[in-house]
């Protein structure tokens, strides 16, 4: 059980980092979008290794099902795919900043004494997640309603922005 989880984590981690690097480094925008789909799938797998089953399914439904399709539509509509995705003027500063951020984060993460609670997590998480969301006292009902209003506003805004005059 434990070794299987370890192997799954390393395979998923290597594939997700490789596909993210492919997204950044490939010149073909359409292939970059396809590697983004692979990256989303591996992140869903990482959620499963973290025993977050509901989030893994939501990841596949929202990111692979909706976001990736929207991005591929945008790439096709803008007809910029044959020009590729060249790097801008800030390539070197961006690289230095990203590497500096990575080194800082790795040092902080490995240097901190995390308060980890041992034990097996409760599965499945869906019902306990719903109880956390809609708790009678101190739940997340108001943020949930605001999220619904945000999605409605985004929907109307997207329609208004791309409507033919």
């Amino acid at each position: 059980m434990e070794t299987g989880l370890t192997i799954a984590f390393w395979v998923l981690a290597v594939v997700s980092v490789a596909s993210a690097l492919a997204v950044v480094l490939l010149r073909d925008v359409f292939r970059a979008a396809l590697f983004l789909v692979l990256c989303f799938f591996t992140v869903a797998g990482i959620y499963i290794t973290l025993s977050a089953d509901f989030l893994a399914v939501a990841q596949i439904l929202i990111y692979v099902g909706a976001v990736a399709v929207l991005i591929i539509f945008a790439i096709m509509l803008t007809r910029e795919a044959q020009r590729g995705s060249p790097s801008g003027r800030f390539r070197l500063p961006a690289f230095v900043l990203a590497v500096g951020f990575l080194i800082t984060m790795v040092l902080v993460v490995t240097g901190t004494d995390w308060h980890v609670i041992k034990g097996i997590p409760n599965e499945p998480t869906t019902s306990s997640l719903a109880q956390t969301l809609f708790n009678e006292d101190g739940g997340y009902v108001l943020p949930f309603e605001i999220a619904a209003a945000l999605l409605l506003a985004a929907l109307i805004g997207a329609i208004v922005l791309v409507r033919e005059k």
Binding site: V29, V67, L70, I71, G88, T132
Partner: protein, 101 residues
């Protein structure tokens, strides 16, 4: 060697750095939006890892809200990109600098 909290946090940091580099260095707006999605996914991995190793579900609730905001953001972002492409025939960030001081 068992997988611990640090492994997931380092993976999250690596993915976030890759997304950060792409978002700062690329010129195609769609690719910049893709890299922002990678960064949001990296943050979600960190939140779910904290939720798993701290035995508290609040991290997963926050991950759900991040997914909602990411979906709204990508819809609005792509609508803006298509509106810009209609009027200026480009998705290059270095050519769409009308509002830059």
């Amino acid at each position: 060697m068992t997988v611990g909290l640090e492994h997931f946090l380092v993976l999250s940091a690596v993915l976030f750095s890759i997304g950060l580099y792409g978002a700062l260095a690329k010129r195609n707006v769609v690719v910049i939006l893709i890299c922002i999605e990678i960064m949001l996914n990296a943050v979600n991995i960190a939140l779910v890892a904290f939720s798993r190793y701290g035995h508290i579900l609040t991290g997963q609730v926050f991950a759900i809200f991040i997914m909602v905001v990411a979906a709204a953001e990508v819809a609005i972002g792509l609508a803006i990109i298509i509106a810009i492409y209609r009027s200026r025939e480009t998705v290059d960030v270095e050519k769409t600098d009308l509002m830059k001081w």
